[in-house]
Assembly symmetry: C2
C-alpha cells in the first residue's frame, strides 16, 4: 500500500459546513428527497472546501455528510470510504456505523452525464431518483458570509488587475497581444485561471478582449458578447484586430482568485470615442446604478431585465443592447464557484432575489464602427438596502497611457 | 430580424467531411444504429471544422450531415434548420426535403448530461436509443491526414515554445512564476489556451509545472502527475515551490495551437540532478523509444503498458513509476481535439492500435527529494513502421541558462 501523510478531508469549519448543508437540506425537504449524492467538482468544492474525485452524500436526518473518495489517496475523515469505482459506495450504507439508505435520492442530472447517472441509479435499485441540480443551484445561489468574503477578496484582486491594464497597452498592439499581457498580470496577481462554467456548451479561455468591429461577430456561446476568436475550434473573443484610435477595447477577464469569481468588464480606448458610443457607455453605467438600487430581496429577477431594456429603449439604444448582429437574452447572472449561477436576470426568469445572492450585471452595447461599450459589475444583494458593488474599479471609459 | 452576412457552416472540404462521416457511419453500422445526433463541442468540431451551439445529425443512408443550429446566427447550409430549443429539431425530419427519421439513434450518453439526453429522447418518442460516445470516440481515434497535419503543426509550435523555456528562468523563481512566463510565451506563439478534456472530472489550467517534492502531492485528477496546486479549488500543479539546485522542474504545458493538441513533457533543472533521478529520466527516454518501436497497427495497447512497467521494474524503479505516494494507472493516451482520447495505454485497456492513432506516451517517475523526471511525446501510429514522433524537442534534462 502507499504510505501517505493524511490530511483532513473537509477544509471548511464545522460551522460553515453545517451552514451550507442546512441550506441544501432545506431545499431537499422542498423537493421531497431524503438523500442527495453529488460528484460535480463545483458541488464537491461547495460542500467540503476542496475538489476531490468521488462523492459527497447528504442524508436529510444526519448532521454531517459522508464521503466516497476515489482520488487523491491522502484524505482522511471518519465518515469516508475509499472506492475505486462508484459501485463500492454502497459500503457507506453497510456495517455498524452505517447511514440509513435513502428512499428518494437526488442526483446531479443537470451536470453528470447520462451514463454516469444511470450507473448510479443501478447501484441503488430500490431508490426513487430526483434531480439534485436545482437543489444545489438554489443553495449555492445564496452565499454565506464566508463565501462573500472570498468573492470580496477576488473583487479586490480583480480591481488591482484592471488598474494596471492601461499600462499594458503599446501602440500598434493587436487585441490578442493585449489579452496575453492581461492574462500574465492576472496570473501574477494570483488568478487561478480556471473559468468554471456550468453546462457543457460554454468555453472561454481566461476571458474576452474585444476590439472594434470584432465585437459584432456572433459567437456560438451564451455569453453577453461574441467575437470571432483566433480559431474556429474556439470561436469567441479576440481575433487579431489591431487596436486603433476610434475603436473600443472591452476587457472582460476572469476574476477567479479564490475558487470564487467576480465578473467585471471595463472599456478602454486610445482616444475619446464617438458621441453615440460614449452615450451608450454612460447608459450602461446608469443601468448598473439603477439595477443596483432596485436589487433587493423579494424583487423579481425579470424586473431588473425589463428595467434595463426599458432604459435602453428610451435612449434609442435597443438595437445595440446586448449585441447588434446577435443579441444575448439576459443582462445579468449569478456568479460564485461558476460563472453562470442563479439568479438569471432575463425576461422569462422566475428567480426572486434573496439576500446573499451575488449577481453580475452587464448591460453592454455593440456600436457599429466602434465596437462594444458598457460595463459589468458584480454585486451582493444585501438584507434591505441597495446591492453592494464588489468590483469597484472606475466605471468610465479608461484611456490608455 | 437580425441582418447578418452569412457564412458557410462546414469549414471542412467536402472530401474531408465525407471521410470523417464515413468513419462514423462504419461505426454506426457496427453499433446497429441508423441515426446519430451529436452536440458536444468536440464532436461538432470534428464533423464540421467549427464549434457551434446546436446539433449535427448523421443518417446512415445519407452522404451529408444535417444541422440544427441555435447559435451563432450567421451560419448557412442547405441542410440546416435554425432552432431556439431542441424540440424544434424535428423540422429536419418534416417537409419536402426532409430526411428519413431513424429507427435506432445514437446520442452522446457519455458526454451530455442526463437531463439533456432524456430531453432528446422525449423529442423522438418512437426511436430506440444507443450510445454515440463509443461510436464517435472510435472514429476520432483514427486521425485523417488533415487532422494529422494539424497535430503536426501543433507539435512544431509546441517545440518552439519548449526551446524558449530555458531562457524564461530567473534565479529564485517560484514554479508558478515560471509557469506564468511559459503561458505567456505559449499564447504569443499562438496557443489557444483551451485544454479540452473529455468527462466532467478533469480540470487543468493551461498545463502543469511541477518543481521538486510538490510532484509527490497526490491530486484528485486522473492525470499522470499531481501537485498540490495554488488553491484547494483547483488542486493540481504548481504550489509556489521555489526552484532550487537539486530539484527537477517538469513542464507539461498545453499544445493546443490548432484545435488539435500535442502533449509534450520535458524536464529542466538548475544543475545536474542526483544519479537516481538521471537514471530514471534516461529510463523514461528508453521506454518512449521502446514503445515507439512496438507501437504498430494490430498491437494491443495494454502490451505497451506492460512493457513500460516491465522496464521500470527491471530497473528497480517500479515504486517511482507514474507517481510515488499516488500512482497513475496508465502510461499513455490518445490525443487530438481532447487530451484524453482513445486508445488508452493501460493494463486493462482493450484497445488495439491502428494506423492513424495519435498517442501521447508519458513514462514518468517521481523521485523523493528530487521531484518528477521523465518525458512525454506525442506519436503517430504509421501504416507499418514504428510510431512517428510529432514532438521532437530534445529529450535529455535541459539546464536553465
Amino acid at each position: 500500500m502507499e504510505s501517505v501523510d493524511k490530511e483532513k478531508l473537509c477544509l471548511l469549519s464545522d460551522k460553515e459546513q453545517k451552514l451550507r448543508c442546512d441550506k441544501v437540506k432545506a431545499n431537499m425537504s422542498k423537493s421531497g428527497v431524503d438523500g442527495l449524492l453529488v460528484s460535480d467538482n463545483a458541488d464537491v468544492y461547495y460542500l467540503t472546501g476542496r475538489v476531490f474525485s468521488g462523492y459527497v452524500y447528504i442524508s436529510i436526518d444526519s448532521d454531517e455528510p459522508c464521503y466516497a473518495v476515489k482520488r487523491p489517496c491522502h484524505l482522511a475523515s471518519e465518515r469516508m470510504v475509499m472506492i475505486r469505482k462508484p459501485e463500492e459506495m454502497v459500503r457507506m450504507f453497510e456495517g455498524e456505523s452505517a447511514i440509513r439508505p435513502p428512499r428518494r435520492m437526488a442526483l446531479e442530472m443537470g451536470s453528470l452525464s447520462y451514463n454516469a447517472v444511470t450507473r448510479l441509479m443501478k447501484i441503488f435499485p430500490d431508490v426513487v431518483f430526483a434531480d439534485a441540480t436545482p437543489v444545489m443551484s438554489a443553495a449555492r445561489a445564496v452565499k454565506t458570509d464566508d463565501e462573500i468574503a472570498k468573492i470580496r477578496f477576488s473583487g479586490i484582486k480583480h480591481r488591482h488587475l484592471y488598474e494596471r491594464i492601461p499600462h499594458l497597452y503599446q501602440e500598434g498592439m493587436r487585441d490578442i497581444e493585449l489579452q496575453v499581457e492581461i492574462e500574465r498580470e492576472a496570473r501574477l496577481e494570483g488568478c487561478l485561471g480556471q473559468f468554471r462554467v456550468s453546462g457543457d456548451d460554454m468555453e472561454l479561455f481566461m476571458g474576452n478582449v474585444l476590439v472594434g468591429e470584432n465585437a459584432d461577430n456572433p459567437s456560438p456561446y451564451d455569453f453577453a458578447m461574441g467575437g470571432a476568436g483566433m480559431d474556429p475550434s474556439l470561436p469567441v473573443g479576440a481575433d487579431g484586430t489591431i487596436i486603433k484610435p476610434g475603436v473600443s477595447v472591452m476587457v472582460d477577464v476572469n476574476g477567479n482568485f479564490t475558487g470564487y469569481m467576480t465578473d467585471m468588464t471595463r472599456c478602454f480606448a486610445v482616444e475619446p470615442l464617438p458621441g453615440r458610443a460614449c452615450r451608450a457607455h454612460r447608459l450602461s453605467i446608469d443601468i448598473c446604478a439603477e439595477l443596483a438600487r432596485m436589487g433587493r430581496p423579494g424583487v423579481e429577477a425579470k424586473a431588473l431585465y425589463e428595467r434595463a431594456l426599458e432604459m435602453a429603449t428610451e435612449a434609442g439604444m435597443a438595437e445595440f443592447f446586448m449585441g447588434h448582429r446577435q443579441h444575448a437574452g439576459f443582462v445579468g447572472h449569478g456568479v460564485g464557484i461558476e460563472i453562470n449561477e442563479l439568479p438569471v436576470i432575463a425576461p422569462r426568469s422566475r428567480d426572486i432575489l434573496a439576500a446573499g445572492n451575488v449577481i453580475a450585471i452587464e448591460p453592454k452595447f455593440v456600436i457599429p464602427g466602434v465596437g462594444a461599450v458598457g460595463i459589468e459589475n458584480t454585486y451582493r444583494v444585501t438584507d434591505s438596502g441597495p446591492m453592494e458593488r464588489l468590483t469597484d474599479a472606475p466605471e468610465e471609459i479608461i484611456y490608455f497611457d
